[in-house]
Symmetry: C2
Subunit: 76 residues, 2 copies
């Protein structure tokens, strides 16, 4: 089975990567870019029968820093 | 309007970040992790009326390195 985990910085946490992308888009002439936030997507190929609870545990222990990041799990 | 761009390394391109995550999950005792690939997700807050063609242009020019990365656009 496959699963996808999205890890984003929480709202209110400064996102310098996103700010850099926003600035670069402006410099390239793209107008109307109000905000950019950049996160990670992690695609997992897991053994059949792995539960969402296990994936949540992976997120809590390794994939996301829950102090500053939020995560979302999507089973494919 | 909001849009989300997913940028992943193309199949066949070595993904050391993904391999590191896979190894770390194994070290933490998670079994059955066959493959991990890590990519980026970029959330854009754009002016109303921005077309998907414009976002494609952003991807081609800045957001993705199309030699080694593929991208997918999702309008929210």
């Amino acid at each position: 089975m496959k699963a996808r985990v999205f890890v984003m910085l929480k709202n209110g946490v400064l996102d310098p990567q996103g700010a850099a992308v926003q600035h670069a888009l402006g410099a390239l002439g793209f107008e109307g870019v109000n905000e950019v936030r950049q996160g990670k997507v992690i695609e997992l190929d897991l053994a059949e029968g792995t539960t969402e609870a296990t994936i949540t545990e992976m997120c809590e222990k390794l994939l996301a820093n829950t102090v500053i990041e939020s995560y979302k799990i999507e089973l494919l």
